[in-house]
Amino acid sequence: TALISSSPRRRVESWFRPRRGMQTVTLIPGDGIGPEISTAVMKIFEAAKAPIQWEEKNVTAIKGPGGKWIIPPEAKESMDKNKIGLKGPLKTPIAAGHPSMNLLLRKTFDLYANVRPCMSIEGYKTPYTDVDLVTIRENTEGEYSGIEHTIVDGVVQSIKLITEDASRKIAEYAFEYAKNNQRASVTAVHKANIMRMSDGLFLRKCRQVAENYRDIKFTEMYLDTVCLNMVQDPTQFDVLVMPNLYGDILSDLCAGLIGGLGVTPSGNIGANNVAIFESVHGTAPDIAGLDLANPTALLLSAVMMLRHMGMHDYSKKIETACFNTIRDKKVLTGDLGGKSKCSEFTAEICQRVRDMD
């Protein structure tokens, strides 16, 4: 079947090239509990003998030439060279004058896709069991373009921007992800009954891309129907792809289903094959430095990173060790319902990893 678009077929970026040998990864520990959970992850990777070399960089915003806020040049160079990054939580001080660090990183590396796999963790009970879905959210435009005006006093308009290019890119990524991770279906989430042109464009692009992936089932569903069905039966969903705002709401909804931001991994895919994996929880300044933090979110993001790099054995090993530790409930951090310290939790996972060899 011929493609409907008139532009020449673009080569789909090969995000999922397996890599061999020692890989260098940029590590951004972050603020608050960031450094301790990063150390935990490094220890576990060492125990698993994963071929990863860490390059630690700091990303506090500095004023670049022309007065624009940028991240330090060494950090940018490191990311451009390594292409893969792991990031802990970053704080945005109020009245610092610069935009949020996450926004800065997103703009610097054009991180257009935010991927959150949500899988129920056996051993961490929530009212929802057997959740196994992935939300893929367009990260650059949509409702978060930041374009707002006061038309007259008391009337404000916010502009939601949907472009053909961004919609096509995110749809392509979603289908590639589904193909590479053996997922059966992709669902586009939209509100085209109300926002006919904008979400209509997004949907059209998704449909066009779906033509090239015949073995993956493509469905479309209204945002409200997805929300309604998600809280009643989340097992019916597989991969969800959507514009920015819906993605924000739905990805946090799904995180809530499996237990919150403390156990949810997340990855951001950018142009030029750059990928930054991160934990999405806050910096938790009240427990920083007290060895009480839960490194699960960052650890699962690191596992996602290994999978992205094609190192499936190591990712399976570390993930299984982590889940088994949580399932056995003997050594758990405070937020998971236990009384152990972060270092004890980490040591337990390291021991399990070593035992697997």
């Binding site: 929530t126 009212p127 929802y128 409702e143 978060y144 930041g146 707002e148 005006h149 006061t150 006093d153 008391g154 009337v155 404000v156 308009q157 916010s158 502009i159 939601k160 921007l161 949907i162 472009t163 053909e164 290019d165 509100k191 085209a192 009954n193 109300i194 926002m195 006919r196 042109m197 904008s198 979400d199 209509g200 464009l201 949907l203 945002l223 409200d224 129907t225 929300c227 309604l228 069905n229 998600m230 809280v231 009643q232 705002l245 924000d248 709401i249 739905l250 990805s251 946090d252 909804l253 995180a255 809530g256 289903l257 919150g260 931001l261």
Partner: protein
Amino acid sequence: RDIVLLWPPPAKYGGRHTVTLIPGDGIGPELLNHVRELFRFSCVPVDFEVVNVCSSTEDDINNAITAIRRNGVALKGNIETLHTLPASHKSRNNLLRTSLDLYANVMHCKSLPGVQTRHNNIDIMIIRENTEGEYSSLEHESVTGVVECLKIITRTNSLRIAEYAFKLAREKGRKRVTAVHKANIMKLGDGLFLQCCREVAAGYPDIAFDAMIVDNTTMQLVSKPQQFDVMVMPNLYGNVVSNVCAGLVGGPGLVPGANYGHDYAVFETATRNTGKSIADRNIANPTAMLLASCMMLDHLKLYDYATMIRNAVLTTMNETRVRLNSPRRCSPHTFHN
């Protein structure tokens, strides 16, 4: 006009009220038939003026709007919007809401005894701005391949909905109102909404007011929904939150919704589903529409009939111990008067 909750009673002729009935598409017609049957059986003094809206021309929806202006009250099913049609064809439901200025959508989510859900003891009132926000239907393609969609927030409407929320909270004896927003990203738009809510809250010192960002709200709703009391929010977040809450208490077939304006009121199911896939198979759950008709009877000040029908519906649900995911035959209902 300082009104909100005191409407003049709608037109009454010969002791009977006339209410506009819009069957809509999908499961709408069959559910509304059940309502009519039940009203006839219970001798409710309400006559229905049926106005059909088929989704092709504007005339039908204009007739419906005129009928509602005439009668003041309506009961409706959802009218399907085929989103494959061009943008000039606006959503009929949206057109109805904006023409009649039904600015407040009110939904009361309460855990029903006899319905098995993952969370218990939920009792949330959701008040959603119904006319502006993301549903302004103002879109244009400035450059090929780039579409802009405008979200409009106005001071007048935000103040109006906040006033409504607080007045309703006070009337129902509620303790806390939570505003749901995304003002950290949409600083001007949602910032204005939040500011209006704060201004109104200052006039109600007996009711606590707080604000929560929408993504955190959905996360809290699926883990601890009991913490919420009354929630007020703009249009799109209202859509998301009301559907999440409807799912939490047992699904779209159980929750009624009401749209109120200064002069008119339209009642429907809260989640506004067309339900094409289950239409005409006698498996749709009529509870939501029946409870919506009870809300309508309350609005018409026919409180006795409303209570009678409401009790009958809830008792039936409790006694037959409905399992929500099993198909359920609509028609047989036994009533104890």
